[in-house]
């Protein structure tokens, strides 16, 4: 297989500027990661420690096999919201006793591990990863249940007007836990503390439950609710203590002496699962790329109008920088070809400009070919969209773009998306955006995801406004329009930033570009827990 040669000039001013900007973005990301790792803060952590409780990250670290990697999902969820950065749950893919699994942990230092919209979304995402990739699901439960406290000081009327969700829509997580079990994907709950009300069904629906002596409490209704419901003054240990559940109710399967003992028991459970991956696993040489991944930091400009060659990314991510390009002379704004990451064969699609008809058709063909041979797809996004204009519309860009989207949507091999730069509009869909059944989506700090570029959006709104004014014969206020456009552009820009996307759990997290190879490798390995099978079935091709 041929090897890509880099033409990146690491001594150029452009590189230096890009590198400096990337450094700033990474700095922000790392600061937020550190903030997320603090959980509910030093005081809360100390308070828990005094009761023999470890911070959630300690619990997870102790459960993992030493020296194995851990891929955290959406570590910066709930940034720029009224909740803690990280949302109070930790979700990730780790290895316990040689078994890759999804680990979900309530952080008891953050509002006693209570649910909120962001950590619920993260939890649902964890369950989805487990289901789609056939990964055993492990949850470290310690939760006060739903957060009943609400926002302090907010006008209740304003709050009710703002709310979009209703209790009637909730509870899907319990459905999903038991569905995993049905799919023969093991589910294990290690209960570290209170698991009340709905939370009680987290162990309730699990295959295996490990409870910790004098620490775990599982009950549908805690003592206050019991008092309200029946007037009974219930003793918490008798009502839902670990001893009781392991000796009387049978809800507990294993009784642990303390937290570390519970983790030991979890590791024992994982080791008896007789887990066998159904994918073929890595089959090619997993040698490092020839090109240094550090140069990825200077490749992409913050100003996404500055072009770069996606092959520079490919050569720094793929095994041995090897890449066999498909149709290099046709539809050149989309680079397609075969390579491997950590020994897993992949088909790669990377943007080198807007999507034209030829590029879209090439993509549709390439995706079908990869489905023919059961090879997963890696999408490297830097796409401002499908090309627009009369000539292109007449040339069938919508029809041909639809072919690409048809192929992407119905493809059954695993897809992994890395949003390197822009991912706008239908380009996001064509490149297997989040909504297209993509198994994993990770962002570079330079990523921007939106319906279109902020400037274009502001401009479009301005043109539409001007048109409306003309039709009504009104005078168009240029100054006000400019002001409106600036404000619109500013907020569109803010909302298009990767950090905003990742905070809303619209992806699986923001990564250091140098980690791209390892992230893709971990994702592919996760995918290979399930079968890796392509399809011949697609929607009707619009010819």
């Amino acid at each position: 297989m041929p090897t890509l040669e880099s033409t990146l000039d690491i001594r150029s001013d452009q590189f230096a500027d890009n590198h400096a900007a990337m450094g700033r973005l990474l700095g922000v990301m790392e600061d937020l990661q550190a903030e997320a790792a603090e959980g509910g803060g030093e005081e809360a952590t100390q308070r828990l420690a005094a009761r023999g409780k470890m911070p959630i990250r300690e619990r997870i670290a102790n459960a993992l096999d030493p020296d194995t990697p851990f891929l955290e999902i959406s570590p910066l969820a709930a940034w720029r919201t009224s909740y803690n950065v990280g949302s109070g749950f930790v979700v990730g893919i780790g290895v316990i006793r040689g078994v890759e699994c999804v680990i979900l942990g309530h952080d008891p230092s953050v509002r006693a591990g209570a649910f909120n919209p962001f950590n619920t979304k993260k939890l649902m995402r964890g369950l989805e990863i487990a289901r789609e990739n056939r990964l055993p699901y492990v949850q470290f439960v310690e939760s006060a249940g739903a957060d009943l406290r609400g926002e302090s000081g907010e006008d209740p009327e304003a709050a009710i007007r703002r709310e979009e969700e209703h209790f009637g829509e909730t509870g899907r997580l319990f459905y999903e836990i038991t569905e995993l079990s049905k799919l023969r994907i093991p589910t294990v709950s290690l209960v570290f503390g209170a698991s009340t009300a709905g939370g009680a069904y987290q162990p309730g629906m699990s295959d295996y439950n490990i409870l910790i002596k004098n620490q775990s409490r599982v009950f549908l209704g805690g003592p206050p609710l019991v008092k309200m419901a029946t007037g009974e003054d219930a003793d918490p240990e008798a009502l839902g203590g670990a001893d009781m559940h392991c000796t009387v109710s049978g809800l507990g399967d294993y009784l642990a002496e303390d937290e570390m003992d519970g983790i030991r028991l979890l590791r024992d459970v994982m080791s008896h699962l007789n887990w066998r991956k159904q994918g073929p696993g890595p089959s090619l040489a997993p040698d490092d790329p020839l090109e240094d991944s550090a140069a990825l930091l200077g490749l992409v400009s913050e100003d996404l109008r500055t072009p770069f060659d996606m092959r520079e990314v490919i050569s720094r991510v793929m095994d041995g920088s090897r890449f066999e390009e498909f149709k290099p002379l046709y539809g050149p704004t989309l680079v397609c070809g075969w390579a491997s990451v950590h020994g897993f064969p992949v088909g790669v699609l990377g943007n080198n400009g807007a999507l034209f008809s030829e590029a879209a058709e090439k993509a549709a063909q390439f995706i079908q070919l990869c489905n023919q041979i059961d090879v997963p797809l890696v999408f490297l996004h830097n796409i401002t969209g499908f090309i627009v204009g009369t000539d292109y519309e007449q040339g069938g860009i919508t029809k041909n773009g639809s072919k690409m989207i048809n192929a992407v949507a119905n493809s059954t091999v695993p897809h992994i998306s890395i949003i390197v730069g822009a991912s706008y509009g239908a380009g996001n869909y064509g490149m297997s955006g989040r909504s297209f059944g993509t198994r994993f989506t990770f962002l570079w700090p330079t990523a921007k995801i939106a319906v279109m570029g902020p400037k274009q959006m502001a401009g479009v709104m301005s043109i539409v406004g001007r048109g409306a004014a003309q039709r009504r014969g009104l005078e168009f206020d240029e100054e006000a329009d400019a002001e409106r456009a600036a404000v619109a552009e500013h907020w569109a820009e803010e909302r298009s930033k990767g950090l905003y996307a990742t905070s809303r759990v619209a992806d699986d997290g923001m990564i250091d570009p140098r980690d791209t190879r390892d992230v893709i490798g971990m994702c592919l390995s996760a995918c290979h827990n399930g079968p890796v099978k392509g399809t011949k079935e697609f929607g009707t091709w619009r010819m």
Binding site: Q33, A34, A36, A37, R57, E58, I60, A61, N62, D65, P66, D67, T68, P69, F70, L71, E72, P75, G92, V95, G98, V99, E100, M260, D261, I263, R264, R267, K277, P282, P286, H342, G343, G509, I511, D512, R514, D515, D518, V519, G521, M522, S525
Partner: protein
Amino acid sequence: MADVTPISLQPIRRLLIANRGEIARRVMRSAREMGIYTIAIYANGDATAPFVQEADEAIALDGDSSADTYLNLTKVLEACERSGADAVHPGYGFLSENTEFATAVEAAGMIWVGPSPDAIAQMGDKLSAKALMTDAGVPTLPAKELRAGEDFAVAALEVGYPVLVKASAGGGGRGMRIVRGADDLADAVASAKREAGASFGDDTLFIERWLSAARHVEIQILGDNHGQLVHCFERECSIQRRHQKVIEEAPSPAVTPAIRAAMGAAAVAAAQKLGYRSAGTVEFLLDGDEFWFLEVNTRLQVEHPITEEITGLDLVREQLRLAEGEELGYVQADLAINGHAIEARIYAEDPANDFLPAPGKVAVWAESTSGAARYDTGVVSGSAVSQEFDPMIAKVIVHAPSRREAAARLARVLETTRIQGLTHNRDFLVACLRAPEFLSGDTTTDFIERVKPAANRIVSIDERNAAFTAVAMVAQHERRLNAKVLSTINSGWRNSVMPPQRSQFGFRDEELRLAYAKNRDGTFSTGVGELVNGDPSLDSRVQLYSVNQESSEAHSVELAIDGRRQTLSVVRVAQPGAQEDEARWLVHSARGDIEFTQLPRFHRKGAGDAEGALVAPMPGKVLAVEVAVGDQVEKGQLLLILEAMKMEHRITAPTKGTIVAVHVQSADQADNGQLLIEIHNDIDSKNEDSAT
């Protein structure tokens, strides 16, 4: 005369070595050089020992204990007969000074490589030997035999305290007790009697005056069958524990040419009186320039190599040659002392625990490459030091132009000898050799009590941390290499802030944690701190150059810690029934050996966790249990007696308390670490009660 074999000679062609371990190997080495076919005999436990494998032929004695094998006259003689040996070399110990055996060997028409059975008999009984020496004009110390019915208290008073109670048939420090006053005499006599009986089958004792601060100096003699005798100068063997030598040197720093001449003459005179042939040793006590005869050892001594080093003689070759009937071929004036030689004996014993034997498996054994040294050893990596036999692992001998150089090199050689997996006295030997008292030649038999050399060497924090780091690096390397999934992803890769990787170690009395994280540039950030303090700060930087697997459990690792590049060798000893991350680690570097345990991440209660638990310090047989459940005991009170390595060990109460459990009874075999007795500490629990 031409160099031809005279008809009168009786050449040895097939030599049976009636011994084991290093001395069997030593004898075979010279025999091979002389073109002699070598035959080993062995106990079951020695079946795979180097001396058995190296012999041209080996005969199983089909037994386990000394008594049933190397001490079993019938079996050994039968082996001699079956093997068609024409000569027997007895080595030292076992049957080497057994008149009956020597006589039987000669009666069967084989050559006995040693003095005549008659000489052995005369010297075997220590009291008659002394009488003989007095006749020959050699000074002796006052002594008295304890015949049946003899009042030993009176005898001791006659001899004068302090006295040494000694087995008449003894050797090797067994059945020997120093008694400083009348109060301790009865106990000492009783236990020396038991030990002498068990070791030599003869419980006759005698009492001798004890000189507490003299030097043990001995003269090597050689005699042929034709009446010619020479001495090969002296050896000083004053550094002893449990009346057994651990460091020997030649010449003695205290022996002047005049003393040497007088002592040599006395030894030769004694030998002449005996009609001595072959190699032998006349032992003296030396105080100032006065000396007294102690005993004659009618065999090769353990410490013979130092004499070989300074004289250039091969004493085993001399023995074999003389046994064949050759003449000495040289006279006293032909012999001269060349330089200085020191021997140190590495034993499987615990210097921190009264030098109690500590049998076990020599997990790793490797000779030093830091300077020239002679190793006489019976072990290789993987050999077991059994409780059945002498726990000596090796003798290390250095020959140098001066005493100072010999001591310096031997200390360094010992320090860099790799010997791991069991408790041993190496560090103690190094401390002896580096003690100013030793270097100034101030060596008397009370050296160890007086100087109190350290039982363990001081390990710097740097060295300790380097060893932990090497182990952690090897362990992570192996885990990544053998991972079933994601093995090619970077070690401990994270995309968020997570706690570092950790390894926890028990080193001596400390519990420590090493934390580490791999950096993007391939280096590791590491830190070591006390376990109770949680994660240490990762302020060291480790560059890992290479990890090479040398065997299934052994690796060598080359790394730089904060710029200090070093190569360490790391061996993992898995513990049966241990958790996945629980292991013993043996690390060797230019700085020496370090051993430590890796503490498991997850704890499990073991037998030793029980309150006030007393465990067997070594494998052995329970001779007597002196207490029962419910007994109140005082601190220091005798609880039980354990017999191991033919010696008695008294297990006493570490604290005042009540016996709550007794797990063994008399005649039980206790394994090393086995729970014997549990005591409830009354004092502590009272304090607890008042506190709550």
